[in-house]
Structures are given as C-alpha cells and as structure tokens.
C-alpha cells in the first residue's frame, strides 16, 4: 500500500466517522423529544411512544381544565416581566462595570455570581418568603418577578459584560465628542452593538422563568395566578397516576412559546454568548 492510499483510506474513514458522529448526536438529542411530538395526538397516551393515531381529544381536555389556559397567561406575564427587568438592569450594570476601573470590580461580579447560586437553593426559601411577605408582595406576580430577577441578574451581567468588553471604545469616544450623555451613549451607541447579547439574555431569562416550579408555588397561593409549570403538577388523578393525555398536550403547548421565541431571536440577531475575541 502506498503512503498515498493509506492517506485516502484514513481520510474516508475519518469522513465516515464524522457522519456517524453527526447521526449519533442527532439521535441522542432528538430521542427524548419524540414522545413530546407524538403523544399529545395519541388516543391512548402513556409513557410508551405511541403507534400512529390521531386525535385532538387531549387538547380539548386542556381547554376544559379550569386552570390550564389561564396559567399560560400567568407564565407569559412572569417571563416577560422578568425578561424586561433582567435585560435593562443587566445592560446598565454591565456597561458600568465594563467601562469603569475600580479595584475589586471582578471580585464583586464573581461574588454576586456565587451568591446567585445559593439563592436558588431551597434553604433560602424562608428568608425569601418572609421578605416578600413583609414587602406585601406575597401572592403577587410582582414578587415572583423580583425574586427571579435577583437570582438571574448576576449571570446575565457576566455574559453581557463580555459583549461590552469586546466593543471598540472609539465608537463611544466619538459620540462623547459630539456631546452625548452617558445614557444617550448607552442607548444609541452601545445597545445596537450588543443587541445579540441582549437578545440571548432575554431568551435565557424567559427559559429560566418558564420552567421554574418551587418559587412560584411557594410565593403564589392562588391557583388562578400560578404559571403553567406549577399547574402541570396538578394533572394527576386520585391514585397518583399521571393523566398522560393532559400532560402530553399541555407539555407541547407549554413548549411552543419558548421555541418560537428562540427561533425568532435566532433569525433576527443570532443566538450567541460571546461578544467577540475574548481578551
């Protein structure tokens, strides 16, 4: 065998290998989702991925459940409220942190990032509950939005700051020469450049709120105000057996908004986490 043909064999083996890799990856990530796509339309829903059958019966059940549809509206409110707060505050804070040089700046950021991990734990449920109660925000969606924002903000700042760092200063300098105020610079010069970052953070915030169960359950006591993630846990019958039809159909409905949001953002801005070459 000539060295050249070894090379050819090696190349084609490599190529086959890389196609196999793509197939395996696709299969691995797609497999759990098959249930989500097929079961909502099945006439006999269970854990088993159904043989083909088609019915909209399960969706009718969702429409008849007294809380299912209202919970979608609640989820939307919580997610959008948190998203707006996180994006605005993260933009302001990360701009400030990226542009000023104070000692211990990075340390502060890392400290906040670490604290955010403790706040999401169950041990802090008591302080959070008492605080929200004292602020008279118990059983209000505002309370949930504020706590979620507090927990998500550090990581959001961390990610956006990276976009800010990557932005050339010359742009701001020239704006300043023309007499623009810091806020104007932020709005008209910085924001357009870091927009992909903000869009990414927005999706990320929505996704986090959308799936959260414990916090809204503890803070919102009226089922009419609870988001879909909480209401979903009601879909069990007396014997503790899950109502698969209801769960599957609702899961699909509940997943669609985040997926659509992602697709829209991805198409318009590109979904990414990095501003440029990281220094």
């Amino acid at each position: 065998m000539t060295p050249n043909s070894t090379e050819v064999v090696r190349r084609s083996l490599g190529r086959i290998g890389s196609y196999v890799f793509v197939c395996v990856i696709t299969l691995f990530f797609a497999l759990p989702m098959v249930w989500l796509v097929l079961t909502p339309f099945s006439t006999s829903p269970s854990y088993r991925v159904p043989s083909p059958s088609f019915t909209l019966h399960n969706f009718r059940d969702v429409a008849h459940n007294p809380y299912a549809l209202g919970s979608l509206k609640n989820s939307l409110f919580l997610a959008l409220g948190t998203m707006v707060l996180v994006v605005v505050l993260a933009a302001l804070a990360s701009y400030a942190l990226s542009r000023v040089r104070i000692p211990g700046r990075d340390a502060l950021l890392y400290a906040l990032l670490l604290l955010s991990s403790i706040v999401t734990g169950t041990a802090t449920m008591v302080p959070i509950f008492v605080m929200i109660y004292q602020l008279n925000l118990i059983n209000t969606q505002t309370g949930v939005v504020l706590v979620m924002t507090g927990g998500l903000l550090p990581a959001a700042i961390f990610i956006i700051k990276d976009f800010m760092d990557a932005m050339p200063r010359s742009l701001e300098e020239s704006a300043r020469v023309f007499g623009a105020s810091p806020l104007q610079i932020l709005r008209h010069v910085v924001t357009p450049v870091v927009r992909p970052g903000l869009a990414t953070i927005a999706v990320w915030a929505v996704v986090n709120v959308w799936g959260n169960f414990l916090l809204p359950y503890i803070l919102l006591q009226d089922p009419g105000k609870q988001p879909g993630a909480v209401i979903m846990f009601n879909f069990y019958d007396e014997g503790g057996q899950p109502d698969f039809g209801l769960i599957a159909a609702f899961s699909l409905i509940y997943s669609i908004p985040v997926v659509v949001l992602y697709l829209v953002i991805n198409k318009r801005y590109g979904f990414r986490f990095q501003g440029g070459i990281k220094g």
Binding site: N65, A96, L97, V100, I102, M125, V130, I231, Y236
Partner: protein, 475 residues
C-alpha cells in the same frame, strides 16, 4: 467611576434597610381578643386545602366551591351578614403544601380555615402556628352538637397534649388486600385471614409458585416515603407489641427486639424472593405497585381503604388506568395479624394504623367567630353527606357513617373491625423530620441486603442523635 460608587452605596444602604426592617418582623399582631369583629357586617374568609378542581382531590375542591361556599354565604345572608368566602386550592405534594402553609402561618398570614394532615398537628402546635380551639374561639366551642358524633378514636387525630385543635375530617385504616383469583390458583382460601406473620409468609411461598407474580408487597425503603412507615413498618411494629413512641415513658423505640423482629420480617420477604426489592427503590414505586395490583400481578398488598376507594374502584372515569371493574369479586381483604396471636400491642391479635385530616382555624384570623361557624357548617351532617357525592368514605361523624358505609363491604369492615383496634402516629416534629426517615432507611438497608442487626444499629444511632439518649428505649 462615580456612578458605580454611588450604586454600591445604594446597594449597601438597601441591605442595611432590609436587615433592619426584617429585624422588626418578630413583633406579631396581638390576637388575644376571641370576640374580635364578631359583629362585623362584612366578612371575608378564605378556605385553604391541598385539593384543586381538575386535579388532586377534585371532588373535595368542587364540594367546597359548589356547596360549602354558596350555602354558607346564603345562610349568613339570611342572618344579615355579608360573608364572602374564597377557596385557595392547591395540587402539590403534601410536603410542599405543608411547607408553604407553615411559612404563611409563621409570618401571620394564611387562610382562615384550612385542612391539614393530622400528623402535622403536634409540630404546628409546638411551633405556635396553631392554637387550641378554646383559645382561638372561646369556650363556646364545647357546645357544638357535632362533637357527640365524633368517636374518641377519631378525635385523637385532632388532639395534641390533651387539647382540641380542630375538627377531624374522616379517617382510614390499614389492612391486607389479596387477589382471590391468584389465591385460588395457589390453592389458598378465598376467605383468607392470617393469624400470624408466619401465615403471611406461608401464603407468599404458595403464591411464589405462580409465574410472573409478586407474592407480597409490604412498602419499604426511602423512595416510598411515609408509605413505608404507615403501610408497613408501624402496623408490623404494633404487631410485635410496641408503638414507635410511648406517651407515658416519653421514649422512642431504638434497636429493641420488636424493631428487630419487624426488620427480620422484611428480610424474610425481600431476600426470600417473596417481594420485589427493585420496586421499593423506584421513585414511583408505590404508584407502580398500585398498577401491578390492579392488573392482578400482586398477591397480597398492605394498604389503606384509600386503595379500595380511589385506586382500584370499578368506575373507569374515576380510577382511570387502575380501575378494577371486577373489584368486589376479585379483591379480598383481611386484618393485619400480630406477629403471633396475642403478641400485638395491648395483647391484641390484630393491629392497624390510622390517619386522617383535620380542619383547623388560623389563630391570626380576623374573624374567629365566623370562621368557627364556617367550620361547624363544613362538619355538619348535611355538608359531610353532600361532600361524599354519593361515594362512600369513613367520615368523622357516626351518624353519617351509619348511613353511607352499609353498602360498602370494605368500609364497613374497617369501620367496625379495624377502627376499634387501630393506633395513630405520634404527631411530633421529630417524628416527621427524623424518625420516619430513619425507619425508611432501616427497611431499605434490609431490602438491599444489610443484616438486621446492622440496620437496627444505624437506625438507633440516627434516632439517638435526634432525641437524645434519655428519650430512647434500647434493646
């Protein structure tokens, strides 16, 4: 640069303010006046319960929404009082509902009248979250005519430290269910009533010869949670002659002979191929055991009347995939025997454990008198009967039980045969935080192959750490 400094100054300021503000949280509202707002013309009350329309315990929620609230409001209206009652439903795990309830009561909030598991009574009372009815409403509580209908056995579930904290709402009892078809195939009688643990093992061995069958299902392990303790360990312990907590000596069971006997029984079942050890470790093991029993794949199952009413009922629209249309012909039931005849607690031949819920008044309610009226209305004969919606269940009221249980063989069996011999679990915080998990762990250790002695020793160490060496009875 200045901007950030100012920002951080704000942050620090806010922290200080919030710390100071919450420092004052301790000051609770003074609610000593039992007659406060007793003559108010406009009253709002909230009923809280872990049930929700279209989900968990939907009948209960529907009863509150469609019967209790409109009827009670109309009744008060006739008296010239404008009462607005709202229902705060929930459909979560009991543990999470309990945490939220405790948090609400802790800060002085929460529904005015709420339902809770009787087992939480002691820990809520010790924490000061709930108070005896006499203290919340006044001595007029004693004159309610409903008390005479509630047996002293059921009343235990709403009593703590000799004080009445609420009105019990029904009770239950643990028994052994068995599949008569499988029993016939294994040559066992359709009127099976074991008299000792050895009889249960013997039946298990006979059933083991049938292919694809789990002979016995006695809940074990941590994944089954409280079911392990209530359906399995505690009735067996009572059959070995001991209660987990002795009210008189104030001592918990350590690695006593009774505890070791119970663990040995578990070992006989799970290492002898008479039970399915894997199922005990499964997160959804209990639900799976229900499903398996309803499909005729389990010989004997220890459970409460809940199984009969809500899991394997013949009605497909209610019991869904686990419904057994031929339940009354296929499923037999028997009392749980003591280890040997007469070896049970107080010399009993048969034993059981019961539980049940309570309706309780929030000590912080603005309208204690009206809340008490609402509670009496909820526990009135008419309301309790309406709440059953044509189904049968053991209620707290003897007059209701006499009417509704007679057509249900199992429920009248529990009402007449089980309730007189049953025991309740100790409603102390340390039970639900430590003891029950230590028990679950001990059974799990045995199921996964550790020796009885080892499992009992670990159990005793855990209990001793929690209650102290003086409050434990050792071997």
């Amino acid at each position: 640069m200045r901007v950030t400094r100012r920002a951080s100054a704000y942050v620090i300021g806010l922290v200080v303010i919030s710390v100071v503000a919450t420092g004052c949280v301790g000051a609770k509202k003074n609610n000593a006046d039992k007659k406060r707002n007793a003559t108010a013309k406009n009253v709002t009350l909230v009923i809280g319960s872990n049930s929700i329309k279209g989900g968990k315990n939907t009948e209960g929620a529907v009863h509150t929404l469609d019967y209790t609230i409109p009827k009670f409001e109309a009744m008060e209206k006739a008296k010239g009082v404008n009462v607005k009652v709202t229902f705060q439903g929930s459909g979560a795990d009991d543990e999470i509902y309990k945490q939220r309830l405790a948090l609400s009561l802790k800060v002085g909030g929460g529904p005015d009248v709420f339902s809770m598991d009787g087992i939480w009574l002691g820990e809520f009372a010790q924490a000061g979250y709930i108070k005896p009815l006499d203290q919340v409403v006044g001595s007029s509580v004693g004159s309610w005519d409903g008390w005479s209908q509630i047996s002293s056995s059921i009343m235990q579930n709403a009593t703590f430290g000799g004080q009445r904290y609420g009105i019990p709402s029904g009770t239950d009892g643990r028994i052994l269910y068995f599949n008569k078809k499988l029993f016939a195939k294994a040559g066992l009688p359709a009127t099976w009533q074991p008299k000792s643990w050895a009889d249960i093992i013997a039946a298990g061995k006979a059933l083991k010869k049938l292919p694809g069958i789990t002979p016995l299902q006695i809940d074990a392990g941590t994944a089954m949670g409280e079911a392990t303790t209530t359906q399995g360990f505690l009735p067996l312990l009572a059959g070995a002659g001991q209660l987990i907590y002795d009210d008189k000596t104030k001592k918990w069971q350590g690695a006593t002979p009774a505890v070791k006997n119970v663990l040995s029984f578990y070992q006989q079942i799970y290492s002898g191929g008479l039970g399915d050890p894997k199922l005990q470790e499964d997160q959804n093991g209990r639900d799976q055991s229900f499903a398996a029993f309803s499909q005729g794949k389990v010989g004997v199952l220890a459970e409460s009347d809940y199984l009969w009413r809500s899991v394997i009922c013949p009605d497909k629209s209610k019991c869904n995939t686990t419904a057994m249309p031929d339940r009354n012909q296929t499923v037999g039931f028997a009392l749980i025997p003591a280890m040997k005849p007469g070896s049970g607690v107080a010399g009993q031949n048969f034993v059981s454990i019961s539980g049940g819920g309570d309706e309780v008044i929030n000590p912080n309610t603005k309208y204690p008198q009206q809340a008490w009226e609402l509670m009496q209305f909820m526990a009135s004969k008419a309301s309790v009967i309406a709440g059953l919606a044509g189904t049968a269940q053991i209620t707290e009221r003897s007059d209701v039980n006499a009417e509704v249980l007679k057509n249900d063989p199992l429920l009248s069996f529990i009402n007449t045969k089980v309730l007189p011999i049953t025991r309740f679990r100790p409603g102390l915080a340390v039970y639900s935080t430590t003891i029950t998990t230590a028990i679950q762990q001990a059974t799990l250790d045995v199921v996964t192959g550790k020796s009885v002695g080892q499992a009992a020793q670990t159990y005793q160490q855990t209990v001793e750490k929690a209650v102290g060496a003086n409050a434990i009875q050792t071997g």
